[in-house]
């Protein structure tokens, strides 16, 4: 892993450390590199056809010891001790169990303390570490880049390829620096940074790039917050996002079940400390963002780039010069049932969803609990809280957060992807409007005809109190000491 690091970006260093075989040729004609994969995460939805492919070809799973599976997309968040009611969901879960048994894959099933959303489980077990290559048949694999890993989503054919060879055949990505300097204002979070980035560069702006999030605002973030940012790199079109590892990363990892120990820890940290972009490195593109000017951000449309500050109004299609963007805005407003010019803060919601691989970690739950503590839920709003993993749920319960949510009138559920994509029974009804801490506001994403506004946990919590899209600054103060703790 040594070699010449001068002029290299973080992404290039990690890439080069994993080249099994360099592609022949130069420039545009260069063939793909063969890249070694350190960790393969598996779930029930994108793996059955890959396992079947291995079976049909008589191939083995090359590295069961670098593979781990969990059940997340289809799993119910209520009555998890009963058989899954939906038969096709049940079959898919049972197929994963059979495949994992047959191929010797470690599986964390529903009911297991380590079960949960695949992108919450990997980091929490300490399996995601700096400088690794991590893949999964899920586009939000970019989450793991928060540790300085090169992590990206793959399709089922590639899942099968990794199973059979522990490698992927890939052309190098271009690199883009996302420089975020300054201090976030109270009530503004990592989610607002990434939504602002997506609105700035567009849903295709990161296409072909690895994004590296840099600058003082990123350095100041916790690992949970960095995961939120890297998670949504894909919403900007980038397959991967990364943050260089630092003391925050090492402290998060230390003592986790699969983190190195003793002399191994020292050797690992010594290597991890080399994982940063060199001063003389050049990015293929750079973007600059001033964190101190950011406000809570919220989407109004049906792609994650269609967002504005919470204090703004729903835009008009005429605000867009580009014909495609204008047509997309028209269509989005019709689908969302919104009129141009309506202040975002006057939009009433039916449901608040706190969950998903973007925002369901313990820190997200703490932030939301701090805002609702001592306050009343708006009577017509349903709030669902779905911890990212069984472990997060246990941790939250140990801290009494479940009581805060329950007293507020929120539903306290079991772990899974849940209403982020509605593959389980947690779905919006047609026309139902939701403030959601998830990552995609596509048409029908959370249920056929459902209308999604992407928000941070802070905005989600404040919205549940007020009933319309809100930030904590819109709420009446509470006298209860516990509730006045900083929400930032």
């Amino acid at each position: 892993m040594a070699g010449n690091t001068a002029g290299r970006t973080l992404a290039e260093k990690v890439w080069e450390a994993h080249v099994v075989r360099r592609g022949e040729g130069e420039g545009a004609a260069r063939q793909p590199d063969l890249l070694f994969i350190d960790l393969h995460l598996v779930h029930e939805v994108t793996s059955p056809q890959a396992f079947e492919g291995l079976r049909l070809a008589g191939r083995k799973l090359r590295r069961p010891d670098l593979t781990i599976a969990t059940e997340d997309h289809n799993t119910p968040t209520l009555d998890i001790d009963k058989p899954i009611a939906d038969l096709t969901s049940r079959t898919q879960i049972e197929t994963l169990r059979t495949n994992c048994r047959e191929f010797g894959v470690r599986l964390h099933s529903l009911g297991d303390a380590e079960q949960g959303i695949v992108h919450v489980v990997g980091p929490q077990l300490g399996l995601t570490q700096p400088g690794m290559t991590v893949v999964c048949g899920d586009s939000h694999t970019s989450t793991h880049g928060a540790f300085g890993a090169l992590a990206f989503g793959i399709g089922t054919s590639e899942v099968e390829h990794v199973m059979a060879t522990q490698t992927l055949s890939l052309k190098p990505f271009k690199t883009m620096a996302i420089n975020v300097e300054g201090t976030l204002r109270p009530g503004v979070t990592a989610k607002d940074i990434i939504l602002a980035v997506i609105a700035k560069i567009g849903t295709g702006g990161g296409q072909g790039y690895v994004l590296e999030y840099r600058g003082s605002a990123i350095r100041a973030l916790s690992m949970e917050a960095r995961m939120t940012i890297c998670n949504m790199s894909i919403e900007a079109g980038a397959r991967a996002g990364m943050v260089a590892p630092d003391q925050t990363t090492f402290e998060y990892l230390k003592g986790r079940p699969h983190a190195p120990e003793g002399a191994d820890w020292d050797a690992a940290v010594e290597y991890w400390q080399t994982l940063h972009t060199e001063d003389d490195a050049e990015f293929d593109a750079e973007v600059f963002l001033d964190a101190s000017t950011l406000e809570p951000f919220v989407t109004w449309g049906t792609n994650p780039g269609q967002g504005v500050s919470l204090s703004e109004a729903v835009p008009s299609p005429d605000d867009f010069a580009d014909e495609n963007a204008k047509a997309a805005a028209e269509r989005a407003l019709a689908y969302m049932g919104l009129e141009a010019g309506t202040p975002m803060k006057e939009i009433p919601v039916d449901t608040v969803f706190l969950g998903s691989c973007t925002n369901s970690r313990i820190e997200d739950l703490r932030i939301a609990a701090d805002i609702i503590r001592g306050r009343q839920k708006a009577p017509n709003v349903r709030m669902m809280v779905v911890p990212g993993s069984a472990r997060v749920r246990l941790e939250a319960e140990a801290e009494g957060l479940d009581q805060v949510f329950k007293e507020f009138g929120a539903e306290w559920r079991f772990a899974g992807c849940s209403m982020c994509l509605g593959m389980n029974p947690d779905q919006l009804a047609p026309g139902e409007r939701c403030a959601s801490t998830s990552n995609r506001n596509f048409e029908g994403r959370q249920g056929k005809g459902g209308r999604t506004h992407l928000v941070s946990p802070v905005v989600a919590a404040a919205t549940a109190v007020r009933g319309t899209l809100s930030s904590p600054s819109d709420l009446d103060p509470v006298t209860n000491d516990a509730a006045t703790r900083s929400a930032a």
Partner: protein, 199 residues
Amino acid sequence: MEKFTTHTGIGVPLRQSNVDTDQIIPAVYLKRITRTGFEDALFAGWRKNDDFILNQEPFNRGSVLVAGPDFGTGSSREHAVWALKDYGFRVVLSSRFADIFRGNSGKQGLLAAEVAQDDIELIWKELENHPGTEITVDLAAKTVMCGTITAPFEIDDYTRWRLLEGLDDIGLTLHHEAEITSYEATRPSWKPKTLPAKV
């Protein structure tokens, strides 16, 4: 994988940008464990609307989809490619594809051809003015022909070669198994393993 050289079929104008994979195939259809039989799932939400292009003759018999920019964004689901193929599509034209979708297409023999937006606009007009017009896509020459329009398209050389030859990726990689084994021997011992499980 079947070889792809040229294809001729009815063009379908889909005047929309940011066609995400949740639209191409909604999540509810991802519960199946097979790799085929997804034709009913393609654009399932939009097909409930009678005005949708695939509900109109002769576009319902189309095999070349002509879409707006940023086609295939969002979820990595390869089911999106399977659904397009199962319905009968062999080619998608767009000025910009999401990376994962383009990768998945290449693995499954669906040609994702990048055509300049100006040419897409011309092809849309041609297809709308003359429904049923066939489009011919020549992978070796990297050209698209529709009526009097001839437009070049982009595709990376490696994917093009694999499609033209109909080569299976895993088979290609396994030629280099010795190199994978040598690489594995150089990995530091502190790199994490999932087995034995520690919790």
